[in-house]
């Protein structure tokens, strides 16, 4: 609980400082959100022309896209400090050593070190896209499905947070930021925004067996929509989503702890 209050206080300070320059903040918020808007608009504009993507309608794609977008945006809002690119710079400058001297949770300090309220814009966009998908895709809602949707969302947030933490921990040894992790995080997000059936086999295998991202979003949405599975996996497979998410996060936390214990400063 102590860790949590440290994190909240840190965020509070950062938010206050960001609100000092209102115009700059609004400008930043709009610009950050705009990338999401533009990317999504690009997809929708093409879809309005070709109507369906494989066997997926526009609202169905929107549901898939919104889930990926919202979960990544939420994760990025809360865990931005663990973004390997940002954390890598942190280590190179020796800033981590300063944090270690303070008698409060290191994890909370790192987590909140790059909190930007402007990312709220992405979250709201993601939420909007998801809500439209939920509303328009004609899901037969049951209490079970509603609970499931929340679990899937939480699972994905944890999954991406786990990838961020693993990436950051690797930085302890390599010092330079690991772009390979960006492939999994940003690349993974881009990939799960669309139906897995459009990808070539080798790409899909990587995201099934190496990084099990296929279970996060694709299978849950198939279940929500009662769509048939083109790859013939067993029917309980959609329940793996929260498991994969929380499992990845747990492993990441353990790895992160291990990393901290073995951290040696660059001496800068």
């Amino acid at each position: 609980m102590h860790t949590f209050s440290v994190y909240l206080r840190l965020i509070h300070g950062l938010v206050r400082s960001q609100m000092q320059y209102r115009v700059s903040f609004v400008m930043d918020l709009i610009a950050t959100t705009f990338y999401t808007v533009v990317e999504f608009a690009s997809l929708v504009l093409i879809l309005t022309r070709i109507r369906t993507l494989g066997s997926w309608s526009i609202p169905e794609i929107t549901l898939l896209y919104g889930l990926a977008e919202l979960s990544f945006a939420l994760m990025d809002l809360v865990f931005a400090g663990f973004d390997p690119a940002i954390f890598g710079a942190f280590i190179r400058q020796g800033s981590l050593d300063q944090l270690m001297l303070r008698p409060v949770s290191l994890t909370a300090q790192v987590m909140g070190s790059d909190f930007g309220l402007r990312r709220l814009g992405k979250c709201l966009m993601g939420l909007g896209i998801l809500l439209y998908g939920v509303w328009a895709s004609g899901i037969d809602w049951t209490p079970e499905k509603a609970l499931f949707l929340v679990l899937v969302l939480v699972g994905m947030v944890l999954f991406f947070a786990g990838l961020f933490m693993i990436g950051s921990t690797i930085t302890f040894w390599t010092v330079d930021s690991v772009e390979a992790m960006n492939l999994l995080t940003y690349g993974g997000r881009a990939m799960i925004q669309y139906p897995m059936s459009i990808y070539q086999d080798w790409l899909r295998r990587i995201f099934t067996f190496v990084v099990p991202a296929i279970f996060l979003n694709y299978y849950p949405v198939l279940y929500l929509l009662n769509k048939p599975d083109p790859f013939g996996m067993p029917t309980w497979i959609h329940w793996l989503s929260p498991v994969v998410g929380s499992g990845t996060f747990l492993l990441a936390v353990l790895f992160w702890r291990y990393g901290i214990r073995h951290y040696q400063s660059t001496g800068t």
């Binding site: 400008m27 990338y35 533009v38 993507l53 772009e179 390979a180 492939l183 669309y194 790409l203």
Partner: protein
Amino acid sequence: MTVFWEIMVRAYQRQITYRAAAIAGLTTNLFFGFIKAAMVVAFYQNTSSLSGMDEKAAVTYTVVTQALLGFLSIFGTFDLMRTIYRGEVATDLLKPISFFGLWMARDFGQSVAQLVLRGSVILLVYGLFMDMDFPSSLMQWVCTIVSLLLGWTVWFTVRFLVNLTAFWSPDARGIARLCYAVTMFLSGLLMPLRLYPEWVQEFAAWTPFPYVLNTPMEVYTGVISGMDLLPALALQVLWLVVLLLLTQVIWNQASRRLMVLGG
């Protein structure tokens, strides 16, 4: 001209020292190219042609674009802006070359390095693993290169203008990010413009952005060929002239402002 050359070579050398970063960036570009190519293929499941562009041309367009990302700095640059905020711009003005020329030389040096280090490798990998088009004649190759250079210069001028807003606004970063997001869409970076509804294409044509990437790529893939080549290139030249004139006017204003503030 020798000064221009020197600055360009320096910028090139600085780029090639960061090999690890280049390799990492390259892998990312390659990966996203595969994802986008898969999407393009999916778009063409129920149709053979969209606004006169077939599947093979669209896939080629998408992957070659990945090879050109670094060359065109299509995600935007903030370097010039930074020197304005730090006041370093004052030293740049002492150099025996025009301010525009100085930044153009720096930028072009970087771009060539990106093309050699990243672009060529990406093109090679896609060439090996994917079925893609190449310009069919010498004429088409020449036009592609000319169009690409024009596109580079148009985009450099836009970025120069965007960076100059730092003289007037403390929020130039936000303005720049907005402009670059619009460019991602209207230049045909996200997807070839011909895949969008007609009205989007018509709207885009009235902005300078399609002439940065979309035109060179349509020339490369042969979507524009024969008699259509000349008007396409002429439009690029027209936009370039307009933007250069605008730059002249705005730079005059900006440099006067710099005198007042004293750097």
